[in-house]
């Protein structure tokens, strides 16, 4: 007889408001990042998809190299590279239908371009002649978001609105490992799960938030585990395995479209380049680490698979390289043209109708510009 039984009628009961909640087990990510290339799962992968991914990855790598070169030529103010992360960038764009929406962070111009946005318009922010160079409604791509994770609640709201309207639309939102520490990451995931909004969150864990490694960012078992706390599934994937990223994101998009709610996907990848051209990565990481990741390169992983299966030969590789070169040449040519600037644009689109103070200030600038124009011929005489 236990002590409690000896004491008679007292029986412990759970607190009245307590109810057994969702079983967390199905939400938990796998112990290891999901992989396709080089595994048995690869046999099931669609050869046409693998070839498409390959062409896009080669093109994406060349895009990163070209954009970085443009910073050195002064044609871009800054470029945050995704060299080494092309599999995530490309897959994020390819898994979406035309009616879906992409919510990129500032590092994701490659995904934006892969979605169909004109590369010059995608790079406008980084060239510095305007903020958002493209029409967000043309390809359903939200503006590149510099404040970290702040675009995630937008994705949730848009997906929620689409669902309220009965539209079959999914939003895919991109964020980095550093961004997962922001409050907006937490709030977005919480809202998405409560509303069962059709959203896919793709976290590219590239190892660093500028210089700070993941260990200083979180003590969670993995970033994918964070999903469980919100009541949504977390998936862990090898971010350099393009076939795996494509499959996991496709599953998540399908799940969301079918009304299953949001998914958090953590893709393990690596930022091979520095944070931007203005950063010096040697101050916080060693060459050996970078070299190890170069051995796990997304293009090489895919190339090995395609070659082993006889889906890619030298001619195929050359064709991919040629297409990438043509894209780069075209980008170079367009970016080497000076953007047309109109200082009066400063006052365009502040409000639907300008306020009186903005009208006054606009006239002030106009007068300054006229005075400048009148002064210019005089300056010319000194040349």
């Amino acid at each position: 007889m236990t002590v409690m039984e000896q004491r008679g009628a007292y029986r412990p009961t759970p607190p009245p408001a307590w109810q057994p909640r969702t079983d967390p087990a199905p939400l938990l990510p796998d112990a290891e990042p999901y992989r396709v290339l080089g595994t048995e799962a690869a046999a099931k992968a669609d050869p046409e998809l693998l070839r498409t991914l390959y062409g896009q990855l080669v093109r994406g790598r060349r895009y990163n190299a070209q954009a970085t070169a443009l910073t050195k030529q002064g044609r871009l103010a800054v470029y945050p590279s995704t060299t080494g992360q092309e599999a995530c960038e490309i897959a994020a764009a390819l898994v979406l239908e035309e009616r879906d929406w992409l919510f990129p962070s500032y590092r994701d111009t490659l995904a934006v371009v892969a979605r169909g946005v004109d590369p010059v318009e995608a790079l406008t922010l980084l060239r510095g002649d305007w903020h958002t160079g493209y029409d967000p409604y043309e390809h359903r791509v939200a503006p590149l978001s510099t404040p970290l994770a702040t675009q995630l609640p937008h994705a949730v709201g848009l997906a929620h609105a689409a669902r309220l309207k009965g539209d079959d639309v999914v939003a895919l939102a991109m964020v980095g490992d550093g961004g997962t520490s922001e409050g907006d990451f937490h709030e977005a995931l919480n809202f998405a799960a409560v509303w069962q909004a059709p959203v896919v969150f793709l976290v590219q864990n590239n190892g660093f938030a500028i210089s700070v490694p993941l260990a200083k960012q979180t003590a969670a078992p993995s970033l994918a585990h964070k999903a469980v706390g919100y009541g949504m599934p977390g998936r862990l994937v090898d971010g350099n395995d393009a076939a795996a990223v494509h499959e996991v994101l496709s599953d998540a998009v399908r799940h969301a479209r079918a009304g299953g709610g949001p998914t958090l996907v953590e893709a393990i990848t690596y930022r091979v380049d520095a944070h931007t051209n203005a950063d010096d990565a040697t101050r916080y990481r060693g060459d050996a680490e970078v070299e190890a990741w170069r051995e796990h390169d997304p293009i090489q992983l895919l190339e090995r698979e395609l070659t082993a299966r006889g889906l890619l030969d030298e001619a195929g590789k050359q064709a991919a390289r040629d297409a990438a070169e043509a894209m780069a040449a075209d980008l170079r040519e367009h970016m080497n043209q000076d953007p047309v600037l109109d200082p009066m644009d400063l006052f365009a689109h502040i409000y639907a109708e300008p306020t009186t103070q903005l009208r006054d200030q606009r006239e002030q600038l106009r007068a300054e510009l006229e005075a400048e124009a009148e002064a210019e011929p005089e300056e010319g005489t000194h040349r």
Partner: protein, 334 residues
Amino acid sequence: MTTVAVKPATMAQALTRALRDAMAADPAVHVMGEDVGTLGGVFRVTDGLAKEFGEDRCTDTPLAEAGILGTAVGMAMYGLRPVVEMQFDAFAYPAFEQLISHVSRMRNRTRGRMPLPITIRVPYGGGIGGVEHHSDSSEAYYMATPGLHVVTPATVSDAYGLLRAAIASDDPVVFLEPKRLYWSKDSWNPEDPAPVEPIGRAVVRRPGRSATLITYGPSVPVCMEAAEAARAEGWDLEVVDLRSLVPFDDETVVASVRRTGRAVVVHESGSFGGPGGEIAARVTERCFHHLEAPVLRVAGFDVPYPPPMLERHHLPGVDRILDAVGRLQWEAES
């Protein structure tokens, strides 16, 4: 013209009616925030809306202001017209990054392609005995952010008209609701509300010849009271209710001050870096040769909002206003 029996209504009731009419007129209008559904909001401004329009149109959100405004941005991107309730002035601060980095500038950064028609309702100001973090006057923060409209009603009728105008606006509007006026009553006919004017016009609440009190929101009734009291001193004060801080109606303000030659700006917000500095500068720049005295400010002190048992010493009252009016260099006239 038929005469309709007009019953007194409170400002809170007029706001509720404005939300209801806006929701009935346009299915894109969605109300969202903390406790706005079943409870009807802590000030009951959203009372009955969830019942009438369903919880998809009037939604109790998770308790996170950045998430509320951030998701409202996404909803607006998709063609909805969210009306967000921030429960109290100081509870809106977590949403500042969304407000400043996205809401205020989305139209500009997308070259006009992505305007965000979001109304952000914020109960503000003191005088209701609220404990810490429930009585801030936060308008200066909003005014300092380009791309936002900032409006605040002082009468029951304006509460209806301004809120309808805010929801109809294609720009984001910070709609500041003076908490202590929620229960103020006014003869106002909800069946025949005044026509909804576009945002941006001040109004002369009381004509006068001696000096102009420039004010808004919760300080308007205080200034009206001061103007009545001033008659005993021989001053005939004009009271201008700004109604809209952004855009600012220079025309009405300047016309008034040019008439009276003297001006005092009155608000609860702190004086240093507060709206009064901007208003005084604008008036001085435009009315210098009409002014008989420097433009004075009567404001809350530059202290964190005081505990409720001390707030009466902080809030601009009739005596402080009359004291300022008395310092408008009247001796020069005699």
